[in-house]
Amino acid sequence: MKVCLLYENNERLIGEGYYDQESIIQDLGLKSVFSVSAKDLVYEDGNVKKVEQEDLFLTDALRRVMMVPLRTKEEIVYRQEIVKDFLANEEQVRELYDISRDVVFKWGTLGKIPGEKAKQSNPVTRLTTDIRIIRLLCDSLSRVRHVMEEGWEPSSKGLKNFKKDLSLNFSREREENIRRVLDDISFYTDGSDEEDSGKGRTVKPRIVLESGLEDGLKLSSLKLEEVSSSGTKFYRPGSTMDKIQNFKNSLIPDSFPVVGDVRIAEQTDLLEFGVVSFLVDRIRGFIDEFQSFFTQLKFQSGFYLAAVQLKAQMERFGVGFCYPEVCGNRDMEFADLKELVMAVEQRVVVIGNSCRFDKKDLLIITGANQGGKSTFLRSIGIAQVMMQCGLPVAAARYKSGIFPGIFVHFTRREDSEMNSGRLDEELKRMNGIVENLREDSLLLLNESFATTTEKEGSVIAYDIIKALVEAGVRIFTVTHLLSFARRVHEEMKDDPDSAVEFLSAERKENGVRTYRMIRHEPELTSFGLDLYEEIVEKNVSI
């Protein structure tokens, strides 16, 4: 049975995910999002009392899901609905996760990893392991069914389907059938279970079968008529009661004892083994059917648990959230969009930005340092990645297209020394991006090509960005390359339908930064740069 909580019809993540995920995670600071989502908050009287340790499985699950974008509005809504269901029923997602984590762990201690062949070479051990796995699956599925059926009514398509599939694939009738066989063959495992020993009782089998004779006079064409287990009083071998018991049994006509003769005892073990493994083989389909169920449930419910915990963290740090909407790729609109990582990491009140771009292909953000440009760019990147995996985002409203290709090309100021090696590395990364561009790509450039002279960097940026935009790539760039920005501005300033938008970090007249982005043409920040720009322009625009 499939879990299908991430996709309606797919159990595993579709596609390889974003290109150069390491850069996306690093440049957008997503590690903080992963890890904060993996921590449970314990409340007391409405206040956070304790932050639990990070569950590394959740960190990883969230990372893996976030790095593989959804491709359609329907897929996004499918997950969003489930998130809503679980936000209203936190207890349930936690239980689903706990149960499946428990199964995967116990399965592991039985010496098998779900989905893998048994490693034991001893067939008897293998058989008893299988029986225990069947029992474990049966108990756990019944718990999952209980969680799904008691005390709430999911409204999302995904959870409704899951509930329905479960009641079909693990019906009460099926459970009863399995449990009946498990009870009947309990003689095979119960003696070895710790809780059964030392109680003065043993479980003994009763097996009735019909047989014929094969050509070599061996038993053949067996028909299994009866199998059952029953507890009987245990008598110490050789004790008086044991002797009396043996004597009584020996009165059974046309019979022989299975104890006493080593060969017969061994062969009777073989008979028991044969009967039990015959029956377990019939149920093995059950193991096969559910062997990856709990691994998947652990992973998929883990994602939603992380979402639920992330929401709690957002509340804790005063960040609002909304379920983003999908619109055309050239449009974008958001209100009070906040940079989640900064909020989580620095625990400060983060300024939200509101913007609306219609039919824009290129967004150029300029302005003074420390004005919040990079933060703004990151907030869009983070929101876009979160939206594309079905999570809510840190904004009052967020509306955007779907970009299966998100690319980041950030230069971190602190290591942007000017040398050809660094530029070479930048160009190489750009080359990698270009090779992997696909339809509906979004490229976030942060101070790209700042590792060479402004002049050279501008030319490089101009050429690359022009070409990419013409190829249909949406580009949001934060840049100090003013000659580049001016040049673009010169070209588009008389065109009312221009696909370029210029933003700048707002600065009050008294020089105070507001950390808000406003529409603003690129300005020259100093005479020197002005001069430089003119020289550059002359040299470049032939």
């Binding site: 009735v208 022989f256 017969i264 019939r282």
Partner: protein, 508 residues
């Protein structure tokens, strides 16, 4: 001896003339030269080592060759071949069961295996008899076989054995009993369970899947286990008559096999093994023909090829060249010259194979052929891997030549490949002519491959053949009549095919 008399004497042979007494280890000298070994290696893969000995022995007279040829023509008929192959498979089952019987320790188990062996044996012969009866058989050998089998399965002795064993097996197979394992004891009672396997049916209904039954948990042990023995002991008490009869029938039929048929079973493999190879090779596009044996018509073949080469070549997917030839009236010896690697040896070998397969009564590797009767087949190939050189090699060649030349059979077919390569040409020409003259004088036919064009000098009975080159001087591997040339310098060709030492070192 008439066939009937032979049958009575237990001497019927489908090979006729195959001598049981011959030393199976003795390998005829032409065997290696003609690469028969490679052909048999191939056949052995499917049929086992024992089949080789039948190929080693050349029948002593023309009648035997004809006898076999007509048997083989029957064997080649699809229904007959099918029936015989089925029979061989059935007999393999018989020997498997015999193996079980021989392994068994328990006398009861031994007895039952014997009964089962007899059943399988009888089934096989009854089916074969029926199939042969329904097929039109034209050969004396196969007709006799059909009659022998027919008489055998109608005999009172056979019928009695058949009925008794069938009845016993029937009873064993229909015997049902119930084992109840409870309170540390197994009890056994005759009869069936009331629910006809109620538990497994319940499980099947509950969990689906195809019907499958519990198999004997002691199956890996072919012997009767102590557990099973205990069960049998109880059954013996319950059915004493049956077990007594089982013992009696088994001991009365311990030596059930028919001698004359034993021999047939072994010998038939000769024909089947070759037919199987034929079918496989035909599937790859090679052809075979039953050779004509008219003495009045010229000896000839069309599309003759080296079967050994074809067998080894199939893996590399190389084309195997075939050739036509004819010994016109008065022609006795082909003297074949031509460039190295031009297909001379292959042609000589295929000619030898043609005679060989005709002599043992099988088909030949050619599209069509007429082959005369020869009393023997003599070959002499230079031993390339011989460590001897110079005088030593010449000596070795001459030593091997002696018994050949001493074999004063009037009509041997002689294949000689490159004699005296290490001797001075002047000497070699003289020696070669002497050898040729010797065999011509005896009235033998054959082929002599040589690099000495002088040996093609006109003489009675000598025909000059050449391995042909095309207009570019490349080998065509085609052999045809024509005056011998000087062997052209091969430098260019070798270069062209990048086969010089340096080139090969680079390529490998």
């Amino acid at each position: 001896m008439s066939e009937e008399a032979k049958v009575r004497a237990g001497d019927f042979s489908i090979l006729d003339g195959y001598d049981k007494e011959m030393d199976p280890l003795e390998v005829p000298s032409f065997y290696r030269d003609l690469n028969i070994i490679q052909i048999l290696d191939k056949i052995e893969k499917r049929w086992g080592r024992s089949v080789r000995r039948f190929y080693r022995y050349l029948p002593a007279n023309r009648e035997t060759e004809d006898y076999r040829r007509s048997v083989f023509s029957d064997v080649k008929k699809d229904p007959v071949y099918g029936a015989l192959m089925k029979f061989v498979a059935d007999m393999e089952e018989v020997s498997q069961i015999r193996g079980e019987k021989e392994k068994a320790v328990d006398p009861l188990q031994k007895a039952v295996w014997l009964i089962r062996e007899i059943e399988c044996y009888c089934d096989a012969y009854e089916l074969l008899g029926k199939e042969l009866g329904a097929s039109g058989l034209s050969s004396e050998g196969m007709q006799t076989l059909r009659d022998v089998i027919g008489a055998y399965i109608k005999s009172a002795e056979y019928r009695g054995m058949r009925e008794q064993t069938s009845a016993l097996l029937e009873e064993i197979r229909s015997m049902r009993f119930v084992l109840t394992y409870d309170r540390d004891r197994i009890s056994v009672s005759l009869g069936e369970v009331p629910g006809d396997g109620a538990y497994e049916e319940m499980v099947r209904k509950a969990f689906g899947g195809e019907k499958k039954t519990l198999s004997n948990p002691f199956i890996i042990n072919p012997y009767i286990t102590e557990f099973e023995k205990q069960c049998l002991d109880i059954l013996k008490k319950k059915k004493p008559e049956f077990f007594k009869k089982l013992k009696a029938v088994a001991s009365a039929n311990a030596d059930y096999r028919k001698k004359v048929l034993d021999r047939f079973e072994k010998e038939i493999v000769f024909y089947l093994s070759f037919r199987t190879l034929e079918l496989e090779m035909e599937g790859l596009g090679y052809c075979f023909a039953a050779p004509g044996t008219e003495e009045d018509a010229p000896m000839r073949a069309e599309g003759l090829y080296d079967l050994a080469l074809a067998i080894t070549a199939t893996a590399d997917d190389r084309d195997v060249i075939s050739n036509d030839f004819i010994y016109e009236e008065g022609d006795r010896f082909f003297v074949l010259t031509g460039p190295n690697q031009g297909g001379k040896t292959t042609f000589a070998r295929s000619l030898g194979q043609l005679v060989y397969f005709t002599k043992i009564g099988l088909d030949v590797p050619a599209r069509s052929a007429n082959v005369h009767y020869f009393t023997g087949l003599q070959t002499h190939f230079s031993v390339e891997e011989s460590i001897e050189t110079g005088r030593g090699k010449l000596k070795e060649e001459l030593v091997r030549l002696v018994p050949m030349m001493n074999e004063r059979m009037k009509t041997s077919f002689v294949v000689i490949n490159e004699l005296f390569t290490t001797a001075a040409s002047y000497d070699a020409i003289i020696m070669g002519k002497k050898v040729l003259g010797h065999f011509l004088g005896l009235g033998c036919m054959g082929i002599y491959v040589t690099h000495l064009k002088e040996l093609t000098d006109k003489a009675e009975g000598i025909v000059s053949l050449r391995a042909m080159l095309d207009e570019n001087g490349i080998q065509t591997f085609k052999i045809s009549r024509g005056e011998a040339d000087d062997v052209p310098c091969a430098e260019n060709q070798v270069n062209k095919y990048r086969l010089t030492y340096k080139q090969l070192k680079e390529r490998l």
